[in-house]
């Protein structure tokens, strides 16, 4: 069995920052990444990030992945990133089972573990929602921004949150027509600067609208859209048809953290954090000492918060392993301050409420 000091599951913004932070303190880190490329969803983000300099604001997500990987590389052999390695089990004795290259299956035992497994996309139920041409927003980004392939010619976007609006803008940048962006909610969920970028390109954003059904035989040919009332019930007679070959579904994310539940950490359903989340301390530690969580796995937020949480979790996990840098408390306070700043405004209301419900008090 492979023995490691600190195991980090996931190499997205939270996992990479956790690895950098822990290795800086002197810990030896193994990062598991299930795909063949590190960086998580950062590698698909062509837009500039919000936040402050500490979270690389104004840099594009895809470039932030490069910055973080370079920082990780500079820490030499203290960080190993294992690609094509999926953590599939997490047991009482801190053993994580790994499937590598879809073939090799083995165990890793770690003294401490940070779960930075991110999120998965929610789906939407409507007739014919299984037709080819109906894709998750992440899939559209992957095709377009990783492989440089057009998802289609005419796209209808479902969801006016940050992802829906950003991906719509990215579609326009790739030369693809976006006929409209829908959202069942009465208000745009995205940051309004993102929505305005799209609006002034002539893409209508239709709030209080939903998809009634998709039409097509082998592939998507059209979508029927209708208005909804304040209780999200379709309003008869408001149907409109859009002839499109892509329907992009961007109706939110849910935390991906089944591994933590399997290990038996205390979990709770917190709607403000978009699903089942682990209870955790201010330092990102779960109810089981030495097991930490960071990023979307502990509740859906922006990548800027995931990075700050990663730095905090890495620092605190390393400290528990005995790697306490001289400026430990100073750094800890700095990351807490960054997180407070990112969550303190009105768009952070939900997050703050959710954090209260999922907080474990330090003993």
């Amino acid at each position: 069995m492979k023995e490691v000091e600190l195991l980090i599951i996931g190499s997205g913004p939270a996992g990479l920052c956790a690895a950098i932070s822990a290795a800086r303190s002197g810990a030896r880190v193994l990062v598991l990444e299930r795909t063949f490329k590190p960086g998580g969803q950062l590698i698909k983000q062509t837009h500039m990030f919000f936040g402050s300099e500490s979270q690389y604001a104004s840099h594009r997500g895809v470039d932030i992945a490069g910055i973080l990987l370079k920082k990780a590389e500079e820490l030499g052999d203290r960080i190993e990133i294992m690609l094509n390695a999926t953590a599939v089990g997490f047991y009482e004795d801190n053993v994580v089972t790994v499937l590598k290259d879809e073939k090799e299956y083995f165990k890793i035992r770690a003294k401490s573990i940070i779960c930075a497994t991110g999120a998965y996309e929610k789906s939407l139920a409507f007739p014919n929602n299984d037709l080819p041409g109906i894709y998750g927003a992440g899939a559209v980004q992957t095709l377009m921004n990783v492989y440089g392939i057009r998802p289609g010619d005419r796209v209808l976007m479902v969801g006016a949150g940050n992802i829906g609006v950003i991906v719509s803008y990215q579609l326009l940048q790739a030369g693809i027509e976006v006929v409209a962006v829908l959202d069942a909610a009465p208000r745009i969920g995205a940051y309004l600067v993102h929505a305005s970028k799209l609006a002034r390109m002539g893409v209508p954003i239709l709030t209080s609208h939903t998809v009634k059904e998709a039409i097509g035989t082998d592939c998507l040919e059209a979508a029927i859209v209708c208005e909804v009332d304040d209780k999200f019930r379709p309003i008869p007679g408001t149907e409109k048809r859009y002839d499109v070959d892509v329907l992009c579904i961007s109706v939110g994310l849910s935390p991906l953290n089944e591994l933590l539940a399997m290990r038996g950490v205390e979990m709770k359903y917190v709607p403000q954090l978009s699903g089942q989340v682990p209870m955790r301390t201010e330092n990102c530690e779960t109810s089981i000492p030495g097991i930490f969580v960071a990023g979307d796995a502990s509740g859906i937020e922006e990548a800027s918060s995931a990075m700050a949480e990663g730095y905090l979790a890495g620092l605190c996990a390393a400290a528990k392993l005995g790697h306490v840098p001289e400026d430990f408390e100073e750094r800890r306070q700095e990351y807490l301050k960054q997180l407070e700043g990112l969550r303190s405004g009105p768009v952070g209301d939900r997050i703050r409420a959710g954090m209260k419900l999922s907080e474990l008090k330090e003993e």
Binding site: H47, M48, F49, F50, G51, S52, E53, A57, S58, H59, R60, V165, L172, Q173, G175, P186, R187, I188, Y191, L192, V193, H194, A195, S196, K197, L198, A199, R200, M201, G202, V203, P204, I205, T207, E302, S304, G341, L342, R343, S344, G345, P346, V347, G348
Partner: protein, 162 residues
């Protein structure tokens, strides 16, 4: 309406503009940031300290029209592409706008393009003066356009004639 469409009302837009006397003196930034979100690169980028957000990064940026010289560094730094530069000092009939434009193909200097409003609807004709795509802009080119003065509060984007 803004929260339903992403299109700011004329009153909201006008509040972000400095007085016309200031615009007529020379270039100045218009920061169309209407919502408190955690973001502060405009403040960090401004070399003369003309944009203030303060301690809480959720504050809405405030631009000091006297300090701002309209250098335009903030235009390509704003992650929301919410900033443009307006300059009314060039002629009594026109305004020069500098706006971010992240699409290909880029227009050519001298080209006539269609001026669009905040809902992407055609409102006027615009003439491209310059296209700057410096390495420091990090792939957010800044296009300078000349637009009739009467469109000062309407013009916000453009599209090329097909």
């Amino acid at each position: 309406m803004f929260e339903k469409t992403g299109v700011a009302s004329r009153e909201m837009v006008m509040e972000k503009f400095p007085p016309i006397e200031r615009i007529n003196k020379g270039p100045v930034a218009v920061v169309e940031c209407y919502q408190k979100i955690p973001c502060n690169p405009c403040q960090t980028a401004c070399p003369v300290g003309a944009i203030c957000i303060g301690e809480d990064i959720n504050n809405i940026p405030v631009r000091d029209e006297e300090k701002c010289g309209g250098c335009g560094i903030c235009v390509s730094k704003c992650p929301g592409l919410s900033i443009m530069i307006v300059d009314g000092s060039k002629s009594p009939d026109t305004i020069e706008f500098r706006i971010p434009y992240e699409f290909l193909p880029l227009p050519e200097p001298g080209e006539k393009v269609i001026g669009l409003d905040r809902a992407g609807q055609p409102v006027c004709e615009a003439k491209v003066i310059r296209v700057m795509n410096l390495p420091a802009f990090d792939r957010t080119p800044v296009v300078t356009l000349e637009v009739g003065r009467e469109y000062l509060y309407d013009f916000r984007n453009f599209k090329r004639e097909v």
